[in-house]
Symmetry: C2
Subunit: 316 residues, 2 copies
Amino acid sequence: MPYAVNLADIQAAADRIGPHVHRSPVLTSRTLDGWAGRRLFFKCELFQRGGAFKIRGALNAVLQLSEAAAARGVITHSSGNHGAALALAAGIRGIPVTVVVPRGAPAVKRAAIEGYGATIVDCAPGQAARQATCDRICAETGATWIPSYDHPHVIAGQGTIALEFVEQAELDTMIVPIGGGGMISGIALALAELRPGLPVFAAEPAGADDAARSKAAGRLIPQEAPATIADGLRTSLGGHTWPVVRDHVAAVHTVSEDQIRAAMRHIWERLKVVAEPSAAVGLAVALSSEFRERVEAERVGIVLCGGNVDLDALPW
Amino acid sequence: MPYAVNLADIQAAADRIGPHVHRSPVLTSRTLDGWAGRRLFFKCELFQRGGAFKIRGALNAVLQLSEAAAARGVITHSSGNHGAALALAAGIRGIPVTVVVPRGAPAVKRAAIEGYGATIVDCAPGQAARQATCDRICAETGATWIPSYDHPHVIAGQGTIALEFVEQAELDTMIVPIGGGGMISGIALALAELRPGLPVFAAEPAGADDAARSKAAGRLIPQEAPATIADGLRTSLGGHTWPVVRDHVAAVHTVSEDQIRAAMRHIWERLKVVAEPSAAVGLAVALSSEFRERVEAERVGIVLCGGNVDLDALPW
């Protein structure tokens, strides 16, 4: 199999996690349709358990552990939604969970990780420190590391979004935020078999545009020094996700911080839902002149991936 | 008929407005259930057209005007959601609409009224100035005044919330915010026939507690000098709504500004929806020790009446 997962894996994931996750609703707004010049459908994963889509992938991984491995617990490093999701997933299976959290992570996300019952271990910011701390605890405890996106079970779990979305709305295309690429890889691989010919576009902050640069160069270029309020999209593509982005994502559209901020506000004011900055990137693309001029599509699906925001530090 | 409307009026209103309004969804949260010590069901009228339940009553009134009256247009005075709703309702019927807006009204609500195509007439703050301006324009133009709550057609329209809510969730009781009493009157009159024995509680800011004081005194005591962030709940009960509140509302529970602020934040953080302060009053009551101690009910319905908030002036 050339890619991390196929449609059958994603359908199996849907059966596995189905009893524990929400089928998130799809919202629309006449005003936003008018601005975009077409019909927009918003898949509201911000209503998902834990406030983001991440529970899908985390739970799909946790539920596939052997009894012996599960008993030793799971671990991840995360500054955000994946940490909360893994804590929630481990709680559902009733196994121990440790989350390595870099200092400086958003307070609201840290509180959520703790609230779902994880043991939190602090570490210095930066990918190297996070991984080293994680590896050390794995060695000590025998816990299984569940990465936040670059893992077949995680990718298959996130792909279940696509199975629901195409049942809930008739779509010509889909816009999906891209950080590490776990969500868009799962979605693109599901659609490649389920709706071949339905193009998937990636929405990326210009301040963390490794996917756009990788796609242009034809090789994986890691993200260094990301600068964006979309804290869920600062990560680099990985070995499992890059080939899918390379082959199954139609194009990567980047947007500015101002575009993200404006789109986030539109979502709050018009859809009346609390979307985090990372979730606003899809609408920012749909409203951009670049997308409107280059992409022909009447009915556009947009994934609002999460709603975990610090209400004391809004970006306007 | 002793009261403004009966169940048949409300069912007729539902048929009349049904093609034009949303059947708003009902959301739940395990965390909030835990805090309240029972199951809570939130009827999300903040997703309603215009961002609040008000379109139900305004449209039910506008659609019952004669052709001749409709041609002369409609008018109201409103600092908020009713003005936007009447503008929207008039647009649906294609007739002229004027909204008298007191200076100092929230910018976001004023913008919405304009955005829906109403002619805005400014006036001084205060009920007397609003009514005088409204009366003058009525005399000049022959427009029909559609008041924001104390009108049988408006009350019947708001009552349609109850018809949907009891279909969407099995409920033991309902908590409804009270300002002028249009919404709770319609709901209480619908339930009096449809679910006799299902008690309806009013949720009121302590800073605008005319309903609580009226209920205690057994006579209508108008609100003077309201002081609350719940800008939709500052009005007094009226001649049509007071008898219903007196006879068909089980009790009025008041909450402090701090309780309203905290509940509003819980709704944003846990339900991930943008509720305005007036919409948070119901949850504030459900979480209060007074309600928890005095009211026995396993399944509580709460109406989140609107979501029109100025994102630049959040109350925390």
